[in-house]
């Protein structure tokens, strides 16, 4: 019976080849548009995330819980040697860079302001980050323990600081003593938001540990890269097991939740978007089915007259509606997949909007990605929606009275 209903429904669809083709093609195009948009946004998102991870986040961070909670400079990573030894020992970790971070007052001439000072190891920093900062004048730190200083463009402007100027930084060390040191501006960086440029400046980690009266090899946090980002959780679990209990490891999604959430939010938004497309399509299908029932009143009346029961008639109309919506699905998915596969190789140039995109940290050429993980969801969505939309025409058909339907001329 199922097979006969299916075959009859399929033939009924093709009674109006033009009308059905239009609906099926519209459905396919809608699905194509939906899938392509998902692939495009996901490509954009991935690129944005990748560049954020490469430029300034890294893949993960090691720190102590106390430091994460209150930023106490005394809460540096204990047993630093052991921790770094385990990083070295892991074949999953490709690079790591220690950092000391403290707040400080910067003073130049008559002006002063509060800043965050990042003590970094220039060489190691370069291994973890492709460009920790984009130095536009001078150069980045070269010496792990010199008096070099790299400052943001906005802060430099604000304080009237130029390359090669001398500047005083004032810290409170871990014992509470005030320490003032003279630094030499060797580089000015630019290209991030003004807020960041005004807040962060870089000095050598060795110099900072001395200034804060911390042990010579110490760090508030260690950023690291792994060889396989997909395995990050497993790698972190292994590292955690091999390290002192007080240190905590956080993946990039914990370090920068907005970035991780962007993926999830985007996925949600995309599903809503595709649902709206499919809803619009479903109305087209609803309309087609209502027309078909109106045209076939006589025949449906005859079917009921000769003894087709209501559930069978209901099944027929529901099946017709489902077929009408599902027929375009494989085509839509195929078009979506093929177009994403092709553009994933060539990329899509966004030259016309390049300016705007760069400000959001998005590359000017987007490489969409294929999104097979969505296909089943989309298919299910089409199925559920068209089932819901089939109920109304099916009910309309059931309400037909055989005698009156057959009287219609």
């Amino acid at each position: 019976m199922m097979r006969n209903t299916l075959s009859m429904a399929w033939r009924n669809i093709w009674r109006s080849p033009w009308r059905s083709s239009v609906v099926i093609i519209a459905m396919a195009l809608g699905i194509w548009a939906g899938i392509f948009t998902i692939g495009l946004t996901q490509g954009m998102n991935t690129a944005r995330t990748d560049s954020a991870l490469n430029d300034y986040i890294g893949h993960g961070r090691i720190s102590t819980e106390t430091y994460m909670v209150n930023g106490d400079i005394a809460a540096y990573i204990p047993q630093y040697q052991e921790v770094t030894a385990s990083l070295e020992a892991s074949d999953q970790v490709s690079a790591w860079a220690p950092r000391l971070i403290t707040s400080s007052m910067i003073q130049s001439g008559s002006k002063s302001t509060a800043v965050m000072v990042m003590g970094v190891d220039p060489e190691r920093e370069g291994l973890v980050f492709s460009s920790a900062v984009n130095v536009v004048e001078g150069h980045f730190l070269t010496d792990p323990s010199g008096d070099e200083l790299v400052i943001g463009q906005s802060l430099a402007d604000k304080l009237d600081v130029m390359l090669d100027d001398r500047i005083v930084l004032t810290f409170q060390d871990q014992t509470g003593n005030i320490y003032a040191g003279l630094f030499w501006v060797t580089g000015i960086y630019d290209g991030v938001s003004n807020m960041v440029e005004e807040a962060n400046l870089y000095v050598s980690i060795g110099t900072l540990s001395e200034a804060l009266a911390l042990p010579s090899s110490s760090a508030h946090e260690i950023r690291y890269r792994v060889t396989d980002l997909a395995e990050l959780d497993a790698t972190q679990a292994k590292l955690t097991a091999s390290m002192p209990a007080v240190v905590q490891l956080d993946g990039w999604k914990r370090i920068n939740p907005e970035l991780g959430m962007a993926d999830d939010i985007m996925a949600q938004a995309m599903l809503i978007f595709i649902t709206i497309i499919l809803l619009a399509m479903s109305f087209g299908i609803l309309n087609t089915m209502l027309m078909a029932i109106l045209e076939r009143q006589r025949e449906l009346g005859m079917l009921m007259a000769i003894g087709m029961n209501k559930s069978r008639l209901f099944a027929l109309i529901v099946t017709e509606t489902l077929l009408l919506s599902l027929a375009g699905l494989p085509l839509g998915i195929a078009l979506g997949h093929v177009s994403l596969t092709l553009t994933a190789k060539t990329g899509i140039s966004m030259a016309s909007v390049e300016q705007g995109m760069a400000e959001y940290g998005i590359a000017s050429t987007i490489y969409p990605v294929t999104v097979p993980e969505y296909y089943l969801t989309i298919a299910a969505l089409v199925f559920v929606l068209s089932f819901l939309f089939s109920l109304y025409p099916a009910r309309k058909a059931l309400k037909l009275n055989p005698v009156e339907s057959m009287r219609v001329l």
Partner: protein
């Protein structure tokens, strides 16, 4: 006991233009094996009467019994099943499902009854050859003439092993040679297999073939003649 028994059946249509008594206190009985025509001028109530007998429409008063079943008291759902298993229908037009072949149309009703596939295909083929359409078994209705379509409809009506066949003006859309052929087939099935036929017509050539003629006027039986 008669095959079909009508007791004081009344059907009134109410409309803005006024009430129309389409079937006016009709009592009749039809025996198994009859070949009976319901005749009368247009609007006399033939279709209304046949619809009531076929369980397609409910009378306002009176009762209709078919075999052992009183169909006037049945629920809609039970009536559909009853029609499927007890009555063969041939309508004036639009009898067949356009997307199915002659063969599939004939087998369809058996499929609704739950008959096994091999059995229904065999029976459909037998019936199509009985009505002389076996050569066109795989044609769809639009590839058949009006007369051929009506013959497929007769085959389809027979397929369910009904107690009788109800045909409302089966020849109204046919030319005289197709009309003759269809009646030959119906008469043969009646004679050879004892299948009961109850049909309406206002075509004299068809009336001449009937063995009982019930004449209606304004919803009343005005004559009932066994030929």
């Amino acid at each position: 006991m008669s095959l079909i028994q009508l007791n004081d059946v009344l059907k009134i249509y109410t409309s803005k233009a006024g009430d129309v008594t389409a079937v006016d206190h009709v009592s009749l009985s039809i025996e198994a094996g009859e070949f009976t025509a319901i005749v009368g001028p247009s609007g006399c109530g033939k279709t209304t009467l046949l619809n009531a007998i076929g369980g397609l429409d409910r009378p306002d008063k009176g009762s209709i019994r078919i075999g052992n079943s009183d169909i006037t008291g049945m629920s809609d759902k039970a009536l559909i099943d009853f029609r499927l298993n007890n009555i063969g229908f041939v309508f004036q037009a639009y009898n067949l499902i356009p997307v199915l072949t002659a063969m599939e149309n004939t087998a369809f009703i058996m499929e609704l009854q739950g008959v096994k596939k091999t059995e229904r295909l065999q029976r459909a083929m037998d019936l199509l050859s009985a009505v002389g359409i076996d050569g066109k078994a795989n044609n769809r209705p639009n590839q058949l003439s009006g007369g051929q379509q009506q013959r497929v409809a007769v085959a389809r009506a027979l397929a369910s092993h009904p107690q009788f066949i109800l045909a409302d003006e089966p020849t109204a859309n046919l030319d005289s040679s197709s009309t003759g052929q269809l009646l030959d087939i119906m008469a043969k099935l009646n004679a050879d297999e004892g299948m009961t036929f109850l049909f309406s017509t206002h075509d004299q050539r068809v009336i001449d073939r009937a063995r009982r003629v019930i004449t209606l006027e304004d919803g009343k039986v005005i004559s009932d003649v066994h030929v």
